[in-house]
Symmetry: C2
Subunit: 377 residues, 2 copies
Amino acid sequence: MNRNAGPKPAFLHPYLSHSMKQVYFTAGPAELYPTVYAHLQEAMDRQIGSISHRSAQFRSIYQFCAEQLRALMSIPETHGIFFTGSASEVWERVLLNCVEHESFHLINGSFSKKFCEYATAVHKYTHKQEKPFGEGFDYGEVEVPEYAELIAVTQNETSSGVQMRTVDIHKLKRSNGRKLMAVDIVSSAPYPDLDFSLIDSAFFSVQKAFGLPAGLGVWIANEKCLEKAELLRHGDQTIGAHNSLPLLWKNFKNYETPATPNVLLIYLLGKIAEDFNRIGVETIRKETEEKAKSLYKFIENHPLFEPFVKEERHRSRTVVVATTKKPSSEIIAKVKESGMVIGSGYGQFKDSQIRIANFPATSAGQVGRLIDVLGKL
Amino acid sequence: MNRNAGPKPAFLHPYLSHSMKQVYFTAGPAELYPTVYAHLQEAMDRQIGSISHRSAQFRSIYQFCAEQLRALMSIPETHGIFFTGSASEVWERVLLNCVEHESFHLINGSFSKKFCEYATAVHKYTHKQEKPFGEGFDYGEVEVPEYAELIAVTQNETSSGVQMRTVDIHKLKRSNGRKLMAVDIVSSAPYPDLDFSLIDSAFFSVQKAFGLPAGLGVWIANEKCLEKAELLRHGDQTIGAHNSLPLLWKNFKNYETPATPNVLLIYLLGKIAEDFNRIGVETIRKETEEKAKSLYKFIENHPLFEPFVKEERHRSRTVVVATTKKPSSEIIAKVKESGMVIGSGYGQFKDSQIRIANFPATSAGQVGRLIDVLGKL
């Protein structure tokens, strides 16, 4: 094998013809955003996979990504923007760094439940308020326990297709100003218009609405989170060794990371965020809402489908879940024949539901085509 | 911006001409292995960035990668092969899952020191034996404390260019059979011929000798590690919530992961491991030794350089460190003019040392060219 001789093999052959490709309407990993391919080519040309994470070149990549995310999601300078291996890792980091004894979890699906289980696993005392699968929370009904230090909210539940409206999240924080609030926006960012002058921490992963391959978590946290972590650091419990908030923050000041991060994905995330900023976050949100509206309208009116989430205000705009009148596997297989991939229900709803991601990577035209195909079943 | 219309942008333009590219002799992130480009093209064609991590397609990717690594590194079925965000994350996971109270660390550079600091940060009582920077350990001089549960060995120190020979590591384990042993092979795997019938755990990251972009840690651990973790799980201390060994193992049985992993890098790692297996690990090791020999011979004989590690047996075969008679920044800049990137010294040795990675991605011819350029300084 003549692996080292001559110039590197090139990206010579063109991308597979459109007809051979599937369009992924899955909730993440999901369809890649169309510009990813060109950005990846550029990254490989610039040898981004080889540059040092202690170089000026890396620092400018980190800075660019952070600035694009700040602009896109209106993240003020009071908040640092950090990178981890995944959003699940952030669950653990938030709990270790921002909770001494007690956390409070609003459980509106399987992932918010896992977030709560993480808290138990790292030996925090957990309070929870739980909804039946498919139902969501309004501000008025939430009862925050007195001694909870952190309120953990899952704005968008990938498992059940339930959302909590940002207006409710903001009210909840306003009436609990002295508690920290961490918001899981894993499968919705940058859609939710979170007010970061209120929200202490939020996090997401890049394989959902940002349309990138998996392998990077993004953690946004403010100075109050840092203060708490600094306090806990000297206490009886560990705040962890890897990617602790004080370490992340110290390195972030210089646009570096404590350990070698996923440089390539940070580069690509910056580029996608820049693309989103060019379009404008308001346009992206509006398009998301319009596509969601067509999807919900369709499943409300087609005899084979029924929206799983009954209350319109609790329906996720980015993950649409429908109960199906025949086994979802049959529907998924049929749709696949037309070159589209939709997800099954989560857990026990695997066979009785479908999940359709509504991320920026899939256009109104593609959503229309999916609806056409589903309509003919 | 017409981002959603028509077919996806293609990888149309060829890779930048060879002359415009730098060859990275840095210790990681490092030169990409030459076949990475073609594998990446293939991965994008197959939409690996979009597939579900709960799909049969992903399970076969994980299985393939694990099988190729087993073959390459002679990893028996007693050991599981797991994926994390980075090797630094593995430091923490090993300590949380395999140590109840006390760990013992052989410190032969800055990264083994960090491993030990991680232990303190997660509230373990740490014992250490430390060498001056640039010196290494032999079996005979190691004194293992009675109550240490885990011996942490850094086989290859990326910071100082020091190695501990596998023969010494094996003896150390043989005479401490009841203690667990974790071996850091971050910047040397698959070079060291570790005997996994002895070694309980080892770990590496992919941006070093496997020549991939950063963003994936690989953790190898045996059933004894799992038993320990299962024991600790019910104890007073937390074994962590994210990527705990019992969770990783449970998912691994089905070739899955607890959370969404870096699917793309797992795919690429499997492909690179397959390429290495085609060449044969013995050939790769022999080539590594020959290239290392030329590098050390050169720096021993050139008036501008001196090997930092005095004892031949302690000299890393994959990270060659030389003390320089003039500021290393000048040398690094000169070498860069010839299209090659070498690293500076680590920490306080930044200006007085150079570090040259000797990974499979750089051929004997390229190493020869580097030596020519250095020789003319």
